[in-house]
């Protein structure tokens, strides 16, 4: 089983500001791991470093035993690492179906030349079949032909996640999928993610502010605060940790732990 992502001593400095300070993080095969922390704690920076969108100041990253610290984002994606963005980054000139089909880029299997002279029919059909089945799983069948920019916000987020899943990743990094969803929607989303992770043997690293959702679906949780790792452990450990309560949960801990 693959999808084993390890970040060791991840450090990222912007001029004087230390966004990530020697963060150690590990996502084991098949695991769902949460990354939480107050706004500005460095969660998204950590994500961007892991996926290659930003360069590390120091530290190292391995995926399934291979060092990927200096690989560009596209090559990491080619190795089976998919991600979504904090602000959904969809291809707004394209339809939902075309957005999802882009996830098949690395599995497409027909060269540009063959496609240009019209011989990519087989590859195109195969890609579409897979896209349609994943769209059905994510409840997107009805909107496949719609321009993606016309969709309601929550559906756009779902398209982004579906697009990442179409990549058939071994590890999926999801950045705040719940932003803009209400608590029922985000609970539904969490359950869906957990199911897909199980069915596809896909490990997941998820940033989320909806603590109830994180506690219910994650195997382990990391807590970041001011760029440093504050705590890690199972949902039960995190819930019991006094430091975490003080830094993060604040007065809502009773409500959040329900």
């Amino acid at each position: 089983m693959s999808g084993h992502l390890i970040g060791t001593g991840l450090t990222k400095r912007y001029a004087g500001l230390v966004a990530n300070d020697a963060v150690d993080i590990e996502v084991r095969p098949g695991e769902i791991v949460g990354l939480i922390g107050p706004n500005g704690a460095g969660k998204t920076t950590c994500f961007n470093c892991l996926t290659g969108a930003q360069k590390l100041t120091s530290g190292s990253i391995t995926l399934d035993g291979k060092v990927i610290t200096n690989l560009p984002a596209s090559e990491r994606a080619g190795m089976g690492m998919a991600r979504t963005f904090q602000q959904a980054q969809l291809f707004k000139h394209l339809s939902v179906e075309e957005n999802l089909l882009l996830g098949r880029h690395r599995h497409y299997g027909a060269s540009a030349l063959r496609a240009a002279i019209g011989l990519a029919g087989g590859a195109e059909r195969k890609a579409r079949d897979l896209v349609h089945s994943i769209a059905a799983q994510c409840g997107l069948t009805e909107v496949l032909v719609a321009p993606v920019g016309d969709l309601p916000f929550g559906t756009q987020r779902m398209v982004e996640v579906a697009r990442a899943i179409v990549l058939e990743p071994t590890v999926l990094l999801v950045d705040e999928p719940g932003a803009g969803m209400d608590s029922t929607e985000s609970a539904y989303f969490g359950a869906l993610l957990a199911r897909i992770s199980r069915e596809r043997d896909m490990s997941v690293l998820i940033i989320e502010h909806d603590v109830a959702m994180i506690l219910s679906i994650c195997d382990r949780i990391y807590v970041l605060n001011f760029g440093k790792l504050l705590a890690q452990g199972t949902p039960a450990d995190i819930r019991a940790n006094a430091e975490v309560r003080a830094a993060y949960f604040g007065s809502t801990v009773q409500e959040a732990a329900v």
Partner: protein, 384 residues
């Protein structure tokens, strides 16, 4: 999990529907339109006087240049002010090859390759630049070609060289009508290649890169080869158009014909015809070619007429003529079905009520703690 969660549905399942109907999703309507257009393009020279054939050839040549710009501007959002220079390269080098008795088919291929090779010299260093910076690099390239490269005697010759009209396989090009058919064949092949590319992986990748390079990289897309490859294809098309341009006039025009100003003029084609549809290139090409003799009748400059047409197109908000046709088709589809409330192509409710819904929300009194999210649940419905 909270109770009731399993009943929650995605927006799509709640009955969100698309507008459309048979008129919008009609592949047959599109295929029929293209068929009629193709027959029209083939038949019209048989029933018109010879003077029209010259402008037909010129339209087809301009349409090739238009197509090269449609794929560049419409697909990648990049603007080139150096395309006239590629047309010039195709014209001058094409004349040399034809004068050395290279068959026309081979010349077309070779000129395409030469154009692509020249574009790499410009493209590899400058395609890292985005938006206006890339355009400025192409401006410099265009100006340099016109001022220094094309003026060299070994490129153009001292005065205009003769350009022979060779046969394209079986098609005699000695008459303007024959040349028109030859260019039409090349244009048709280019259109088919572009159409196939647009609707498969490469086309999607190009649009993805245009919309978000970061997200494209996250889809395992290597960006540079696609940008450089498309620019090379665009340059190849423009160069091939240049070859036929020389053949049409049977001479190598002066370098001023391939100036930066001319590039700007060419850019009117994707704007007037529409940059999102490939056939926009045909409309734009016909406008520039047929515009010249038409405006001569009224003794005004084509540049003036083009500027006015450009202004009107931009003010209309449509994506050129093809965009206006598409919008018209949509309007008819809506009129047939009754106009629904919609956001873009979405119809959230079937009723025809355009008044904004009222929202009532209650939020707790105490300020929320740092890092928490205030969630407001909106309950859609009608209160009597």
């Amino acid at each position: 999990m909270a109770p009731g969660v399993k009943n929650l549905k995605n927006a799509a399942d709640r009955g969100v529907k698309l507008t459309g109907g048979p008129l919008m999703s009609g592949k047959r309507v599109e295929a029929g339109g293209v068929l009629i257009l193709a027959i029209g393009l083939l038949v019209w020279p048989l029933v018109t006087p010879e003077v029209a054939h010259f402008y037909g050839s010129l339209s087809a040549i301009y349409a090739l240049i238009g197509l090269s710009l449609v794929i560049l501007v419409g697909w990648t959002g990049q603007i080139s002010l150096g395309h006239a220079a590629f047309v010039g390269c195709g014209c001058y080098f094409g004349a040399k090859l034809l004068n050395n008795d290279v068959p026309l088919v081979l010349t077309v291929v070779l000129i395409g390759l030469i154009g692509a090779a020249i574009s790499l010299i410009l493209g590899i260093p400058s395609l890292r630049l985005r938006g206006v910076y890339f355009t400025i690099a192409t401006l410099a390239f265009g100006a340099a070609c016109q001022q220094y490269f094309f003026t060299r005697s070994e490129v153009r010759g001292i005065a205009a060289d003769q350009v022979p009209r060779a046969n394209l396989v079986g098609i005699q090009t000695t008459t303007d009508r024959g040349l028109y058919y030859a260019v039409l064949v090349v244009l048709a092949i280019a259109l088919v290649l572009a159409y196939n590319t647009r609707r498969t992986d490469v086309g999607r990748v190009l649009f993805a890169i245009r919309d978000s390079e970061q997200a494209a990289a996250a889809m395992a897309i290597k960006i540079a080869p696609y940008k450089i490859g498309l620019f090379a294809a665009s340059a190849a098309l423009a160069s091939i158009a240049g070859l036929f341009y020389g053949m049409l006039f049977q001479a190598t025009p002066a370098p001023e014909q391939f100036s930066v100003l001319q590039s700007l003029f060419y850019l009117a084609m994707p704007v007037l015809g529409g940059a999102e549809a490939l056939l926009g290139a045909l409309v734009g090409g016909a406008f520039l070619a047929v515009g010249q003799p038409l405006v001569n009748l009224f003794d005004v400059r084509l540049f003036l007429m083009t500027s006015i047409a450009l202004l009107l197109t931009l003010l209309s908000g449509f994506d050129g003529v093809t965009g206006a046709l598409k919008a018209g088709r949509k309007a008819i589809a809506d009129a047939v079905r009754g106009e629904p409330v919609r956001y873009g192509s979405f119809v959230p409710h079937e009723e025809h009520d355009h008044s904004p819904p009222r929202v009532h929300a209650t939020v707790g009194e105490s300020p929320p703690p740092v890092g928490s999210v205030v969630r407001v649940r909106i309950v859609p419905g009608v209160r009597p």
